[in-house]
Symmetry: C2
Subunit: 354 residues, 2 copies
């Protein structure tokens, strides 16, 4: 496609940033670092601005979402912002009755379990640019503030979204969703295609509004065998990522417990693979054939350990990450709410000093 000349991608604002360079497989002078869930409950300034505002409302107020996105960039000096949102935001925007219950997570008004439920769901889409306006606006405000620091667009992968839709709330094993994929593969395919379309449109809106990269979060992919992932999750993830192909941005694909799935998660069309803390990056690089930039994989559990233990761990992660064509330092999962923000700042300083 031809991008409008005012489009942020065209002005090259972030092309030479450490993050975009590493995502493109180059080795920038400065090793880029950011943290999944860097915007959120670990920051007192976040807790202040969120006071009295429900989670999904915060995501959909452009100025607030932008401010929250910018807070960790200002505080920690990380190499990227990631747009403050939630994976169920596109569901809400599509008209699904969903809310985030504090201390629980996403809760659906009526879970989607049958072919009829899926048919009804398909009546509520697709997501229009009008519905996505609060997201586009929030991203545009953020990008204007960030200057040459890239913003990463954020979306949940169809399997993880479908798991929430079927279970109706967070679950450990996603049994309902995993049963549906085997019990009624056609309904499952329709459900995940629908989810791919809403989450793809959500991600695309962020890129069109100025995000310099896009990350697809398949939080629960690790509950699948490789065979089930390949057959029942990969096609819809490919469909979601196709919404941002041709826009000139690199894509990252991340899940937890995905040591068996790394190559399959790349092969749906991702440029970069995020690795949780369970396998070391040199091993992840080996499994990916040595040709894929990696992101990760500091163990969040170490953030609560004394500095010498954390420092040794960060140095080890960076050393093993050197095996890959490029490495963006990150956590292997989100920042735990109880994390001391100063520790994150110190990690950024350490990574930048290496």
């Amino acid at each position: 496609m031809t991008l409008p000349s005012t489009h942020p991608l065209v002005d090259g604002r972030t092309t030479n940033s450490a993050l975009v360079s590493a995502f493109s497989g180059r080795r920038p002078e400065r090793r880029p670092v950011w943290f999944m869930r860097q915007a959120g409950r670990s920051l007192p300034e976040y807790l202040r601005v969120r006071e009295g505002v429900a989670m999904l409302d915060a995501c959909l107020r452009p100025e607030l979402a932008s401010e929250i996105t910018l807070q960790p960039v200002r505080r920690h000096g990380v190499d990227a912002g990631i747009f403050f949102s939630d994976i169920v935001v596109p569901l809400r925007l599509a008209g699904v009755d969903v809310d985030i219950e504090p201390g629980v997570g996403p809760v659906l008004g009526s879970p989607v379990r049958t072919a009829d439920d899926v048919a009804r769901l398909r009546d509520v889409g697709p997501l229009t640019p009008e519905a996505l306006a609060p997201v586009s606006e929030g991203v545009a405000l953020t990008v204007a503030e960030l200057g040459s620091t890239p913003l990463i667009g954020f979306a949940g992968a169809p399997f993880t979204l479908a798991a929430y839709l079927v279970e109706g709330r967070p679950s450990r094993d996603h049994l309902g969703a995993r049963t549906l994929m085997h019990a009624d593969p056609d309904t499952w395919r329709e459900l995940t295609e629908w989810a791919a379309d809403v989450t793809g449109a959500f991600l695309r809106a962020q890129v069109l509004a100025g995000a310099s990269a896009a990350q697809l979060f398949d939080s629960w992919a690790g509950s699948l065998s490789l065979a089930d992932y390949t057959r029942h999750a990969a096609p819809s993830s490919a469909r979601a990522l196709a919404y941002v192909s041709g826009l000139g941005v690199r894509t990252v694909h991340f899940g937890t417990g995905t040591g068996e799935l790394l190559a399959a998660m790349r092969d749906v069309g991702a440029d970069v693979v995020g690795v949780d803390y369970r396998i070391p990056l040199d091993e992840a690089n080996r499994r990916l054939g040595g040709r894929t930039p990696l992101q990760g994989n500091i163990d969040p559990a170490l953030l609560g350990a004394p500095w010498p233990a954390l420092e040794a761990h960060v140095r080890d992660v960076v050393a093993r990450g050197s095996a890959a064509p490029a490495h963006v330092v990150n956590l292997g999962h989100g920042v735990p709410p109880e994390t001391d923000p100063d520790v994150l700042t110190r990690v950024v300083e350490l990574v930048h000093s290496l």
Copy 2:
């Protein structure tokens, strides 16, 4: 050690059973099958006898625990009973303030987080034979009823127990426990050694009372990297299993999401490795060097799918399991509460027909 001549191990009651044969690496004529959590909420007869009785009370009433253990053996014709209990039973018997909250899981009165907490914990052990009497009695009653069908002893692994002790309740990432192991490795070692001693004594009591095999459940081991498992979990699991070594029974070691850990979990001293549903058994067998009997790995999600899908899956599991020296068919995780018991019976019939 010399076993008393009245000991069930000496009378050879179960030596030639399909289960004990397969656990010993032989290929019995009949392919053995049982189900993790076969005793429990999937059975109406269980719900009836549990009415008004708290979970841990049910575990500690010998006649009731025995009846619950026997129910699925009678109903499904499985090749083994597994003693009805909970991994926190030895904690309760040691005097720890712990209960099972319905819909939540184990909840501790006061979580164990510091060196002082651990020191206090060490004052409440060790577990005496007197404290373990309800367990020994329950096992003896069960074994008397089971005849030549073997009973498997049940215990939680020290890492999983320690995760509950530190978190105070079930958690997704076991961050508190995993932070402690890095932040204060000495306290962590003392905590897991204590846990190994109580859970080891609990398992030993079951074997001495007549269990023909012993399974150690490390439910949360899959949250650890191989390096962390080897350093911070394996030593205490070896210590726990040592409590039943020399008693002439085979040991099984099981966890979920443990594809990276299979060999390490065997090498703590287990004879058989349990495999969840995430990797196929031929791959598990390869990772174990082709010399270890396997147990598993029917995906519990398939129990809710139509019979043709489940049947094809069971046949695939059995075919892949043939790669291993021996295979005990089981689920890759516990029976989901909403499972139709007739489906389990049908799986048993299918496995026995193959």
